[in-house]
């Protein structure tokens, strides 16, 4: 019985159905975005807040990664990300809104040391164990 043409066709059919189900589920899945957005004024304020925090975030990795520019900047970016995620959670907006605010602030206000508009060239650490 198992040799029958119908069974073989069933096999192909179910395989196709599985693939169709996979595609259907992937296309219909929803991760709803936050509905609220920041206004221009709010973005400007968030950008300024981040700029005010930057010197502190820049200072802490100086002793954690002495002499390692990329690691220091990377540590700064980790702090910035943590702040942005928390800020987004509190404001009920997408983290993208916060990063947009930071970017706009960098493009509209002069950046003076210890703040930096740059990031050190990539130099991954040689140790991972």
């Amino acid at each position: 019985m198992i040799r029958s043409k119908w069974l073989r066709l069933t096999g192909w059919g179910v395989s196709g159905l599985c693939t169709a189900l996979a595609i259907g589920r992937a296309l219909s899945a929803q991760v709803p975005p936050p509905t609220r957005r920041l206004s221009e004024a709010e973005r400007a304020a968030v950008g300024r807040m981040c700029a005010a925090e930057e010197p502190r975030w820049r200072q802490s990795p100086v002793h954690r990664f002495p002499g390692d520019r990329w690691s220091q900047d990377d540590d700064f970016h980790a702090s910035e990300r943590g702040w942005a995620m928390e800020m987004a959670r509190r404001a009920g907006v997408s983290p993208g809104e916060i990063f947009r605010a930071i970017d706009e602030d960098l493009h509209t206000h002069p950046v003076k040391p210890p703040r930096k508009p740059t990031a050190s060239p990539s130099k991954p650490r040689p140790f991972y164990d």
Binding site: A26, A29, D103, P121
Partner: protein, 753 residues
């Protein structure tokens, strides 16, 4: 009694041997395993690595759909890089069609689903040849394909590790080459090309290793030297075809890695018990990674009674040994790292994937041992049924484990796209996906290799294209796309036009000369009004693609010839396979591009190569019993305003030095207290073994004075063996006088209370 088990077994065997029914089962299992992941489609995996790897795919989709260009240059990452040369990009594979059709985020779980099916089918085909039983191969296939490592990789955004699912296809191809079948060569070439195109930084070299081992085994198994020579010809042809078929990706990656020296230090090691736990611990228990469902061990146990199991047991043992890394004094992983292709391998535990693979093969063989007795023995028949039951239970466990691992992923909503002209942002590699949605490049770079980047890139420019001397004229962007920039330039005098992206030798300009301005893309222009068209046309991508097309064309020709006129001799096959590689060589020689040597800097940004000792350095002459000399040192008198002590040592390497030789730095105060600053890697870039010979090398390192008690400190420097007995290397003065303890005084400093 025997009727029932036999009926069950033969029905199951029919399912295994009927392609449609077998695929149906594999599809059902894959669907169940990827069900959670499919439900997450369209969301953003917020893990930092996923931000980096996924962004590449999204950039490629955007380049094709929004700009109608091939994804050659990725301006959104690290200030711009050669997309085909990025080892982790995965768009150079057929799965990219899914990203184009459904969107890169929705395509990801579909890719997972398809790779699971592919892994099971490939394993089935390989294990059936190896074990001689279809049902055993069928039963063991899900164990391999549902390896928890893939589920964890999915969660971390390491989708390119799904390339491991192609391992059985490469080995299947090899088995067919053993039988002198051209399809085997095509299969191997296709599997390797797919792995490479899919970003197989680990799957490709590791699989090449096991393919080589199995090839050696195949040669050994030949009865006569004539057969061995014939098979060697076939294997040689296969290797040449694989190289040619992979050139589209291999050439850009080689070019990239030549411009970006990556060093991997450290001596990671894991006790065998940890490797075993990693293999068999459930993802539902305590967070362990579920590599292999434990019921497979029942099938594996039976393999002890089969001679076929010898080679897989040896391979499993070698894989397990490799997975322990540096744990044992005699480390196979250390030996492997000494080879050029494997020198930057990290995480030896990834070899556990191969332990799992070979154990699954042994499971198939073990089933075969019982299967061959089924007709004669009722006990064996029931034993086989129990094994089938174990396989079903194991598959269920693996599906559940897969589901648990994929549920751990942190999924957020996809960021909304903002339509605005492209510009660089300072960015954030931990959240890079958000910047891509803003059409901003992230200068903050989280790549696993030192991407050649300019320190002049900025994330605050009002205009991305500008003149080095702003008073010399004006620039206006007329059009922008990833691979092409159209600019209107008015210059009153000869000027340097600068673009806020990295330079690469593949950039060409319609006017003037493309230059690297401290790593920034620049064009030297004469005075006047110019319509400058900058285009990215890298030799490696176009040349590599041509070589690959020729390789596949040659293979097609051989197939046609074989059908029409019979088999070619292996040496003719080799000659035809070498043709595309000859073209590759000719292209390499005749199609020149400006050189792009690596930028050699210390982690603090200072150049490594120096012509002579800087004025602030104190000459310190010492030589060692290995061909290394210490020429000088910079030792600060006291910590700087930030409380940091920055040191520089100036080394010269004159010959071959063992890989394990490292630098020790002892800071010793008047009370004999010591602070250690040993480092195995010079300037964060070289081992002594790989350092340029005969050049003066600046090895800069900094310590925080916060951990250094007040007092007067001596800086004592020398070399030691970081592996083995940890002994110091003998040091002597230029006059040949031995230096006590091999410790050279480089200077002193004071830390005030």
């Amino acid at each position: 009694m025997a009727v029932l088990p036999n009926r069950v077994l033969y029905s199951a065997r029919r399912i295994a041997t009927t392609a449609s029914l077998r695929l149906m089962v594999f599809c059902l299992i894959s669907l169940a395993a990827s069900w959670t992941a499919l439900g997450q489609a369209g969301g953003m995996n917020d893990f930092r690595d996923s931000h980096v790897t996924h962004s590449y795919e999204e950039m490629a989709v955007r380049t094709v759909l929004d700009y109608g260009e091939l994804p050659l240059w990725a301006p959104w990452t690290c200030g711009g890089l050669d997309a085909m040369g990025g080892p982790q990009t995965r768009f150079a594979s057929p799965t990219f069609l899914l990203s184009l059709a459904f969107g890169s985020r929705r395509a990801e779980p579909l890719v997972l689903f398809l790779f699971l099916v592919l892994g099971m089918e490939g394993f089935f085909r390989y294990a059936r040849l190896k074990a001689g039983t279809a049902l055993g191969a069928f039963a063991a296939a899900p164990f391999f394909a549902l390896n928890g490592f893939y589920a964890v990789s999915w969660g971390l955004g390491w989708l390119n590790f799904l390339g491991f699912e192609l391992v059985p296809w490469t080995l299947l191809g090899l088995r067919l080459v053993f039988r002198r079948r051209l399809a085997g060569i095509a299969l191997m070439a296709g599997a390797f090309a797919l792995m490479l195109g899919f970003g197989g930084t680990y799957p490709v070299p590791l699989t090449a290793l096991f393919v080589s081992l199995e090839a050696v085994g195949g040669l050994w198994a030949q009865r006569t030297w004539r057969h061995r020579a014939e098979l060697a010809g076939w294997l040689g042809a296969a290797a040449l075809f694989i190289l040619g078929a992979s050139a589209f990706r291999l050439w850009p990656v080689i070019d990239t890695l030549q411009s970006a020296l990556r060093v991997m230090a450290g001596q990671p090691g894991h006790p065998p018990a940890n490797v075993a736990t990693q293999l068999l611990a459930s993802a539902t228990q305590g967070g362990g990674v579920f590599y292999l469902a434990p019921p497979i061990l029942l099938l594996v146990a039976a393999s002890f009674f089969s001679r076929r199991a010898l080679v897989p047991w040896v391979a499993a043992f070698l894989s397990a040994w490799l997975a322990t890394g540096y744990y044992f004094r005699l480390s196979l992983f250390e030996g492997l790292r000494a080879l050029p292709l494997f020198s930057t391998l990290r995480y030896p535990e990834r070899f556990a994937v191969y332990v799992a693979f070979f154990l699954a093969v042994l499971g198939a063989i073990g089933f075969g041992v019982v299967w061959r007795r089924v007709r004669r023995s009722r006990l064996a028949a029931w034993g086989a049924v129990v094994m089938c039951g174990a396989a079903i239970v194991g598959t269920g466990m693996a599906v559940r484990s897969f589901e648990v691992a994929t549920q751990r992923v942190s999924i957020l909503s996809e960021p909304e796209r903002v339509d605005q002209p492209f510009a660089q942002a300072r960015g954030n590699r931990w959240s890079q996906g958000y910047f891509l949605a803003l059409n901003r490049g992230s200068i903050s770079c989280g790549e696993a290799y030192p991407v050649p980047m300019s320190a002049l890139l900025r994330g605050d420019l009002a205009q991305e294209e500008y003149l080095e001397d702003p008073s010399a004229g004006q620039v206006r962007r007329s059009s922008w796309s990833p691979n092409r920039l159209e600019l209107e330039v008015r210059a009153a005098s000869p000027v340097n036009l600068l673009v806020n992206q990295n330079w690469h030798p593949g950039w060409k300009s319609s006017v003037g000369e493309v230059v690297s301005h401290e790593g920034l893309l620049g064009v030297r222009l004469p005075p006047g009004e110019h319509q400058v068209s900058l285009r990215f046309l890298p030799r490696s991508t176009f040349g590599g693609a041509l070589v690959s097309v020729l390789a596949w064309g040659s293979l097609g020709f051989v197939g046609w010839w074989t059908r029409r006129r019979g088999k070619l001799s292996p040496w003719r096959l080799c000659a035809i396979a070498a043709g595309p590689l000859v073209v590759w060589g000719l292209l390499w020689v005749t199609w020149t591009e400006p050189p792009a040597p690596p930028v050699l800097t210390n982690p603090n940004g200072t150049p490594i190569l120096v012509e002579s000792l800087p004025p602030e350095a104190t000459p310190v002459r010492a030589s060692f019993s290995v061909p290394v000399e210490l020429h000088g040192a910079v030792v600060p008198a006291e910590p700087d305003a930030n409380g940091l002590l920055s040191f520089e040592l100036f080394w010269k390497v004159n010959g071959s030095v063992p890989r394990a030789v490292g630098v020790f730095v002892h800071l010793v105060d008047e009370h004999g207290r010591m602070v250690n600053q040993d480092h195995e890697v010079l300037a964060g870039t070289f081992f002594f073994k790989t350092a340029p010979r005969g050049r003066l090398l600046r090895d800069a390192f900094t310590i925080s004075a916060q951990g250094v008690p007040p007092g007067r400190w001596k800086v004592l420097v020398g070399l030691w063996n970081s592996r083995g007995d940890g002994s110091r290397i003998v040091a002597s003065t230029p006059e040949g006088e031995p230096i006590p303890d091999g410790r050279v005084l480089a200077g002193t400093f004071t830390v005030s209370p």
